[in-house]
């Protein structure tokens, strides 16, 4: 019960946190690009866009930061045995994240917001790039920490507890390299989708085509390569995980027995941990082999042999993750990504024919497309984190052993309820504010006579 509550709480707060993080990273990069365009070309449209999307960015940053605070505290509050055991390894990238990235990000965000009329345009442009860089850097450290839980490296066991011996190993961990690339690309996809959706909505409602046509195009130019690369990186990540966490990949295909070559089922009926014979519909031959091993005839070990192997190695226990979450997490992620690719290509094609701003159908679809990256991100994280279960650190510590001994069930219930209510309220407010500011009309362009006057700061 306590394990379930603590796990549920961590999943809830992390999924919520990761709704805001990719928007922050993605929009920071895109806003920086817009401001760079303004700096280079001095067209007022880009300045208006920078301010417009900058406002959306800060609404998001606020809640991204505070939900991140919860994440940091939770390791100690709910998972104290875990923190005690691996803090000397896992805590290091977290502390580095604060020192290297959080200071940078938040200090320069303040400088950017309030420094419009106090810094030279060049220095001011640098501040937004440092915000974008800081947010990406923070993702690097937290992904290094997370990847260590998926595939521990750079440590030795001393009296049953892991001790860090090589900090570089954490940052050259293949799981880290590929999953970090994937997170950055996913953030760009999410940010670009938000920008595309807002621009499309504005264009549908008669927004200035000279302005929002530009941002829609920029969003598409970022979105399509980012999602394509994300899929390629995801494929490679699958191969790496098949190597280090074979159970995760076997569960993602609901593959109970070893196969060679292996097919990939598009949909199945039934399945789950108690149904080893689900009805698979439309199996594509060889595809799983390709995805999991990069070889046409690759071999994928099934969950039953893996279970026997783990039980022999780690002692009796059930080492199979939730197969339902794995199977559908994988498919939701992949199928929705394909939809994003198709819509993105459609948009680029329209853009080439100069019809982007007037195609009502596309603008409607592009507005609603914004939902998909959030579902993709959530599905991806469930796949990654649920797939590691029952381990909290693969092969080193079981999740149920990582709990805080001194925290009672009642205390866990209280914190779960507090966070659900609070996140529900704040999420709603954030959404309302985002919608309201996304639907605002752009302030009129300043008259040409004022062009040389400094731009006012974005005060509270």
């Amino acid at each position: 019960m306590r394990t379930d509550l603590a796990r549920w709480q961590f999943a809830f707060t992390s999924v919520n946190h990761f709704l805001f993080v990719p928007v922050t990273i993605g929009l920071a990069v895109l806003t920086a690009l817009l401001q760079t365009a303004w700096y280079r070309r001095k067209q007022p449209e880009y300045l208006r866009l920078t301010r417009f999307f900058g406002t959306l960015l800060v609404i998001n940053v606020a809640i991204g930061v505070v939900t991140g605070l919860v994440q940091e505290f939770e390791f100690g509050m709910n998972w104290s045995s875990y923190s005690r055991l691996v803090g000397n390894i896992f805590g290091a990238p977290l502390a580095m994240e604060g020192l290297a990235a959080f200071f940078l990000e938040s200090t320069f965000l303040g400088l950017w917001l309030f420094g419009w009329d106090k810094l030279s345009p060049r220095v001011h442009l640098l501040t937004i790039w440092l915000v974008a860089f800081g947010s990406m850097l923070s993702a690097a450290f937290i992904m290094a920490a997370n990847s260590w839980m998926q595939h521990p490296v750079g440590y030795v066991m001393v009296h049953g507890s892991p001790q860090l011996t090589d900090i570089w190993a954490l940052f050259t961990n293949p799981v880290f390299v590929w999953s970090y690339a994937k997170v950055v690309l996913a953030a760009l996809v999410t940010g670009a989708s938000v920008m595309l959706a807002v621009s499309a909505w504005q264009l549908r409602r008669g927004g200035d085509r000279a302005v929002f046509g530009r941002s829609a195009r920029l969003a598409l130019v970022v979105l399509v390569p980012a999602i394509l690369f994300a899929m390629l990186v995801g494929d490679e990540l699958g191969v790496i995980e098949a190597k280090y966490q074979p159970m995760k990949i076997a569960a993602a295909e609901a593959q109970w027995t070893t196969c060679q070559p292996c097919s990939f089922s598009l949909i199945q009926i039934g399945g789950g941990n108690n149904d080893q014979k689900p009805t698979q519909i439309l199996a594509i031959p060889h595809l799983l082999s390709l995805l999991a091993t990069n070889h046409w005839n690759g071999k994928v070990i099934g969950m039953n042999p893996l279970q026997a192997q783990y039980a022999a190695k780690y002692g009796p226990g059930y080492y199979v993750p939730n197969v339902f979450i794995q199977y559908w997490g994988m498919r939701v992620m992949a199928y929705l990504a394909v939809i994003v690719v198709l819509v993105g290509l459609w948009g680029l094609w329209l853009s080439r024919r100069r019809k982007l701003a007037i195609s009502k159908r596309f603008l409607w679809v592009a507005t609603w497309l914004v939902v998909l990256p959030f579902l993709i991100n959530t599905a991806g994280w469930l796949l990654t984190e649920s797939g590691r279960q029952p381990w909290i650190v693969q092969g080193i510590m079981l999740t149920k052993n990582g709990l805080s001994p001194s925290v009672s069930t009642a205390e866990l219930w209280i914190s779960v309820l507090v966070f659900v209510v609070l996140y529900g309220a704040l999420g709603t407010i954030d959404l309302i504010l985002m919608l309201r500011y996304a639907r605002k009309e752009l302030p009129p362009a300043p008259p040409p006579a004022d062009a040389d006057r400094p731009v006012p700061a974005m005060l509270y």
Partner: protein, 375 residues
């Protein structure tokens, strides 16, 4: 093995940095309603810390993460043992963080009043709870032989811990008020001085009481150590400087006082990090909670390389935003010409909806039917 004490010092520096910097942000948050009085004044007060508070709060995050990396055992016992207190602290930190950003995002008075109240109360709860949590470290809580907390939520509210919390709240108020006085002009500055002067005597008493009790708790003997003595001197000096309205010096004095109070607590704590009231032998110390030397060595290199940069660009931020702020900047130009108009009857801000709709802030604009011609 010099890394272990070094990391205790670094963590002391991080907590001190947090309270010195975020201390005035918290004070400003608590006071912005009183000192600001009307909307223009409140905005002037909040904007004194607008570009700074977010970077200052990171000191807390880094202090927490540094304990995690350098003293995992301390982090684990502290955060899990004081569970509900940390839940409350998180709630307060969340409200404070978003209220800065959200407060100005809707023109209705009710919206702003709600966020203002949340900002003020959260700014009070944060130093109170952190103070209680820090005070408990030194005064001792039930901790068993296996380093696990064995007490309950009520055990945290012991008199010494509460005094530490209240003292920190009080000193944040004075620190924040002198900061506002240093960063504003006109009526806002005047009101900040009056707030500082009103809070100063109580704060002096609280700091003296805290120093005395800390000295006794730590079993320090008949004489105060230099750090404790310094705290007594600077807080009294601060009170006089506040009376004389010497803004730069008063702020320096409150800065030193806060720093010295935190340092006192950590100095008296060392080498323990969490005192066990069950049995002194069960106390957590820097040695029985520290990470292995390799981790500490890596983190030392990282911290010593990065901290100077952080201090550099944060100092530069303070330089960029060195100018004083006036509430007049936040009054619409038309009204600035005719200052006779009382602010309470101020015209609605540009973009405000008619009074009949003003309370409908729950629904965003254009929620039902977006306006504007379709294309």
């Amino acid at each position: 093995m010099a890394f272990v004490p070094l990391w205790f010092i670094l963590i002391t520096i991080l907590w001190t940095g947090f309270f010195v910097l975020e201390g005035f942000d918290l004070g400003v948050g608590m006071l912005h309603g009183v000192v600001g009085r009307d909307e223009a004044g409140r905005r002037a007060v909040i904007n004194t810390i607008g570009p700074l508070w977010d970077g200052n709060e990171v000191w807390l995050i880094v202090a927490g993460a540094a304990i995690f990396a350098a003293f995992p055992g301390w982090y684990a016992t502290w955060f899990s043992g004081f569970y509900l207190a940390f839940v409350l602290l998180l709630v307060a930190l969340i409200f404070r963080g978003v209220s800065f950003e959200y407060r100005g995002k809707s023109p209705t008075r009710r919206w702003r009043r709600t966020w203002s109240r949340l900002l003020a109360s959260a700014s009070l709860v944060v130093p109170l709870l952190i103070g209680i949590a820090l005070g408990d470290l030194l005064h001792g809580t039930p901790i068993g032989a296996n380093q696990e907390y064995t007490g309950n939520f009520g055990n945290l509210f012991q008199p010494y811990a509460i005094l530490t919390g209240v003292m920190l709240v009080a000193i944040c108020v004075v620190h924040g008020a002198t900061f506002i006085a240093m960063k504003t002009t006109g009526v806002v500055r005047d009101r900040a001085w009056r707030a500082a002067r009103r809070a100063a005597p109580v704060t002096v008493l609280l700091v003296l009481a805290f120093v005395a009790w800390t000295h006794v708790t730590a079993g320090g003997g008949a004489f105060l150590n230099p750090v404790e003595l310094l705290a007594c001197i600077t807080i009294i000096a601060a009170a006089f400087l506040v009376r004389d309205r010497r803004d730069g010096w008063a702020f320096t004095a409150t800065t030193v006082t806060i720093a010295v109070c935190i340092v006192t607590l950590f100095v008296d704590l060392y080498p323990r990090v969490m005192v066990s009231s069950t049995n002194p032998a069960y106390s957590l110390t820097v040695h029985n909670t520290a990470s292995p030397p390799y981790t500490l060595k890596v983190m030392t290199v990282v911290a010593l390389v990065l901290l100077p940069f952080v201090l550099g660009y944060q100092a530069w931020t303070y330089y960029v935003f060195r100018r004083r702020i006036s509430d007049q900047q936040f009054r619409p130009a038309a009204r600035r010409a005719a200052t006779a108009v009382p602010v309470a009857q101020a015209a609605p801000a540009p973009g405000a909806r008619p009074a009949a709709q003003r309370h409908g802030w729950v629904l965003p604009r254009g929620w039902r039917r977006p306006r504007g011609p379709r294309t």
